[in-house]
């Protein structure tokens, strides 16, 4: 059976400022099992990074978790002390961020930084920890690890620094790895290497990986499951094939159509999503995509539930409501969702 690592239920996070309450995360439910790579996709302001930070207990003032629950292996994490969180973060959940330069201490050798982490979390001796650090560097594809351990962060290139970060994260042998835009700052050739590395880690271990990104290409290449976020909510989730081949939410369909297709005619016009994302200081009460959605109808002013479209494939959209499907041709959902699929599977309220 699958081993459930992380689970969020109806999570709500808000940030308070002079302008009011910014409802960054508005009722997000998701889970991550051991051995899977879950992509959380969304644009800026979708709430994807805030969701990840919440899973690490890193929401501090002016932000606040105002509702819902976060569980790790079935145990609720909310209300934990800083010390407990810190233990969880080091030993069981590790993280990698976009910019490795801000996460590494610039005046300390890589070896010293790595052994410090290893010794604290795994209680190894100095020499052992150093051997372990060298092993991890080798594992992430850094040659001559013994020599590299005695270098400072600035002596590494951007891609190499990100490898060091991943090696450091792996050195505690975590069960769950959270990577927030780990390749966004890198060149495309280096990005490819880091993505291959993540795939390789997944193949070798039973680690759960969460990859937060705005890049659909990255998601398609490495993730097994995808969660699409928009306006602080989960719009759709499903296996990577569900999302790319059978997208059930107009937002997901719109995103897929707005990127150029490989091999598509040179001057084939892009199909953009018109408009801009909602203002989360004053979000629409219903579907956050309502103002940009080509299929919006009366019902969309109410918040939709997640409709089940298939095994583990769910979309937050009234188009999949049984009532609506009966009244209208659901094929209007366009963009690859054919009428039969929606009709047959029906829609079950959750």
């Amino acid at each position: 059976m699958t081993e459930r690592l992380l689970e969020m239920e109806d999570l709500r996070v808000s940030f308070y400022s002079r302008d009011g309450e910014n409802q960054a995360v508005r009722g997000v439910s998701l889970h991550v099992d051991a051995g899977e790579t879950v992509g959380i996709v969304g644009e800026s302001g979708s709430g994807k990074s805030v969701t990840a930070k919440a899973a690490l207990g890193l929401i501090g003032p002016p932000g606040k978790v105002i509702g819902g629950d976060i569980r790790y292996r079935g145990e609720s994490l909310l209300g934990w002390s800083d010390g407990r969180w810190r233990k969880l973060r080091g030993n069981r959940i590790a993280m990698v961020f976009q910019d490795p330069m801000t996460a590494l201490n610039p005046v300390k050798k890589i070896g010293a930084q790595m052994t410090e982490v290893i010794r604290r979390h795994r209680g190894l001796g100095k020499a052992e920890a150093r051997r372990e650090a060298a092993d991890k560097l080798r594992e992430v594809g850094i040659s001559e690890p013994e020599r590299r351990l005695d270098q400072y962060p600035h002596e590494f290139s951007g891609g190499m620094r990100q490898r060091v970060m991943i090696a450091m994260a792996l050195s505690c042998e975590p069960e769950l790895l959270l990577a927030d835009e780990p390749t966004t700052a890198l060149d495309v050739t280096i990005q490819a290497q880091i993505l291959d590395l993540l795939k390789d880690i997944k193949a070798r271990s039973n680690m759960g990986i969460v990859l937060i990104t705005h890049d659909l290409g990255v998601v398609a290449q490495v993730c097994t499951r995808v969660v699409v976020m928009y306006g602080g909510m989960v719009m759709e989730e499903g296996a990577v094939e569900d999302i790319f081949y059978r997208a059930g939410h107009p937002y997901t369909q719109g995103l897929l159509k707005s990127v150029p297709k490989r091999g598509g005619g040179l001057r084939e016009r892009l199909v953009p999503i018109e408009g801009t994302p909602p203002d989360l200081l004053d979000p629409p009460p219903g579907c956050p995509f309502i103002e940009r959605c080509p299929h919006a109808f009366g019902k969309c002013v109410e918040r939709p539930p997640l409709f089940e479209l298939g095994d583990g494939h769910r979309a937050l959209c009234w188009l999949h409501d049984a009532e609506h499907s009966a009244a209208k041709v659901p094929g209007a959902a366009a963009g690859g969702t054919d009428a039969e699929t929606v009709g047959e599977r029906g829609a079950s309220d959750e």
């Binding site: 644009e43 800026s44 302001g45 060149d187 495309v188 050739t189 280096i190 990005q191 490819a192 993505l195 291959d196 705005h214 890049d215 659909l216 290409g217 990255v218 998601v219 398609a220 290449q221 990577v240 094939e241 790319f244 719109g254 995103l255 897929l256 707005s258 990127v259 150029p260 490989r262 598509g264 040179l266 084939e268 016009r269 892009l270 199909v271 953009p272 999503i273 018109e274 801009t276 994302p277 940009r292």
Partner: protein, 299 residues
């Protein structure tokens, strides 16, 4: 398109920066950001320039704008060599050549409202004044998908995508012929990028603009460009029509670069081609024509 006349011609362009200086201010180490680049841009086309960070692609763009004085080589614009011109003689070219940059947050003066922002270059180049100017600005706003009511607003009241539209309106306010677009969409949200790309294409058709499109997002560059140049280490390693370049890349670096694009299709198996500069024997080889209109720096 092939018969169109060349609007911009770059010949053996070099731009070196002093990396280190000794105590007397003499340069001891030189960074060759651009090191011998030649290409031409035809009137009405979009020429894409791709490459990794540090490849020199933005430096080429800045040289074309004369934001940098270049170390060697020539840039001809409509037959006129730009490096020889003084500030006064350069003025008309500063109108004809405009630019759009990556960051719509830092490229607009936060203390100016929309009318002032877009009207300023019109004033400088004496394009129009007074109420005619106000009307022209309002018309431009509508062209870039904004509203007349936005005239008195300030940059902070706009989203990233809208700010980029303002930058574009500002660039177009003086009726330029050639626009250098340096990463114009990379700071924008995915769902907004396509809007801006479509708009750039529409404006090009309407005003007969010529674009130099500098970017690292290879799939978008392919989409918008007629021809593409690939830069590596300050040099051009390959130039070809977009489709030809993507279907038939000849330089090993181009091959590696294209194979690294993450394809938004989980079924597409990634066949990565690795690039190893140290084992590449063609270092310093000049571009040569290997097929009709296809140039590559291969032995």
């Amino acid at each position: 398109m092939n018969n169109a006349k060349t609007l911009v011609e770059v010949r053996d362009l070099k731009k070196h920066f002093a990396k280190e200086k000794d105590v007397w201010g003499r340069t001891t180490q030189v960074l060759k950001a651009v090191d011998g680049v030649s290409f031409g841009i035809r009137k009405g086309e979009t020429f894409g320039l791709v490459g990794e960070s540090g490849s020199g692609k933005s430096t080429v763009g800045r040289c074309l704008l004369r934001l940098y004085d270049y170390t060697a080589g020539e840039v001809y614009y409509d037959g006129q060599e730009l490096s020889k011109l003084g500030d006064q003689e350069l003025r008309p070219f500063r109108r004809r050549i405009q630019s759009i940059f990556q960051d719509p947050y830092s490229s607009l003066n936060p203390g100016m409202n929309v009318l002032e922002l877009i009207g300023e270059p019109m004033d400088i180049h004496g394009v129009s004044t007074g109420s005619a100017r106000r009307d022209a600005v309002a018309e431009l706003l509508i062209k870039v998908g904004l509203k007349k009511e936005h005239l008195s607003r300030y940059p902070h009241e706009f989203s990233g995508g809208q700010r980029q539209r303002l930058s574009i309106a500002r660039a177009l306010s003086v009726r330029p012929e050639f626009v250098v677009c340096d990463e114009p969409i990379s700071a924008l949200d995915v769902s907004v990028q396509a809007q801006v790309v479509n708009m750039l294409e529409d404006l090009q058709a309407e005003f007969g603009l010529t674009y130099l499109f500098i970017a690292h997002d290879l799939s978008m560059v392919r989409h918008i460009s007629d021809r593409i140049g690939v830069m590596y280490g300050g040099r051009l390693v390959e130039v070809a029509d977009s489709d030809e370049l993507y279907d038939n890349p000849l330089h090993p670096y181009t091959q590696a670069l294209l194979s690294a694009i993450p394809v938004p299709d989980p079924g597409a198996a990634a066949k990565r081609i690795a690039w190893d500069r140290s084992s590449w024997s063609g270092e310093g080889v000049a571009l040569r024509e290997v097929g009709p209109g296809h140039f590559a720096a291969i032995p």
